[in-house]
Amino acid sequence: MLDGEEKSIIDRAIGGDTLAFGLLYDKYHGQIYRFVYLKVSHREEAEDITHHVFLNAWQHIAGYKHRGFPFSSLLYQIARNKVIDHYRTKKSTIDIEGLHEADIPRHESSLEDAVHFQFQVATVKEALKQLKQDYQDIIIMRYIEELSPSEVARILKKPETTVRVLQHRAIKQLKALLNKDA
């Protein structure tokens, strides 16, 4: 979806076109779900939060003003707030759920490789959860979703240079945690 094309879709969605919003949903649902899932580590909660993110975006899209950034910026901002609200209301249980088998497709040659890879992913995911919220956000957006620093800066409402510094610190801390676990 090109920038101009996305803008016209957003404009149609603002006008109440459900099909247009459906296209935006299809494009961004996966990445918003991943973002939320990696932060809450619970499948049902991630689904619930992601649903509310898109519902919120749909209900308030009339007030959206396109400033040249992808629509995902708005969705990430809503998702971040929803996750914060989630942790504010539910502090007691943080379920360190193992990755669901269906979450990551197996493409390793042998079963041994697949098990090893699943273990690596689980370890990284657990280490990721020990980081600060900002660090988690930056790592997910920069290294998993591969967003540009300017997009991340826009979502986190921080200067781009700050994002780069935070990114460096986040990776350093993640490496330290993984080395500690290893």
Binding site: G16, G22, V124, E146, I171
Partner: protein, 181 residues
């Protein structure tokens, strides 16, 4: 593990939501009504007023609390004892100042009147008895020579002046008696 971090992170991109959930969620969202721009504006305005009223009430509350605290402090606080009251202390100090000024004025007056009296006595004694100016001698002479002058001269002078005053009073009384008849 160190070298695999970025690769592993990239692999996390393969996490996908359940397709049934995704379809169901999509359907529910698109079936829900969209908020109209007018409604969104109204909501924004009402939010603004709500926040403004909360801030306003908060400020009024703070003002009242501060005012109340000040009033209680000034009225009921043990620090508001008369001796510690700033205003009463100033008034008391002013009063003391005024009384000191009055006392100084009195001393000054007494000193001046004393000098005048002594001058008058000296003049009178000169005119009455040129040979024995007791009071003048007392004033002019040093202490040791003054002590040498006779106290009888001063006594006679004082008795004489008293008797002249009494006789003057008598004369006045006589005139008043005659007038009253």
């Amino acid at each position: 593990m160190k070298t695999d971090i970025f690769k592993t992170l990239r692999e996390l991109k393969h996490i996908h939501p359940d397709s049934d959930y995704a379809k169901h969620s999509r359907m529910l969202i698109l079936a829900s009504p969209q908020q109209s721009p007018a409604h969104a504006n109204a909501l924004r305005v009402s939010t603004f007023f709500r926040i403004s009223s909360i801030v306003g009430l908060g400020l009024i509350g703070i003002f009242m609390i501060l005012g109340g605290t000040t009033y209680i402090n000034e009225t009921y606080s043990p620090l508001a004892l008369e001796g510690l009251n700033h205003r009463s202390l100033i008034a008391e100090a002013d009063e003391i100042n005024a009384s000191i000024e009055v006392t100084l004025e009195t001393i000054d007056y007494l000193d001046t009147s004393n000098q005048t009296t002594l001058t008058k006595i000296a003049e009178i004694s000169k005119s009455e008895s040129p040979t024995a100016p007791a009071a003048t001698m007392m004033l002019a002479a040093p202490a040791d020579t003054a002590s040498a002058t006779t106290t009888t001269d001063i006594g006679a002078f004082l008795i004489k002046s008293d008797s002249s005053e009494i006789s003057a009073e008598r004369q006045i009384n006589d005139i008043l008696d005659e007038v009253s008849r």
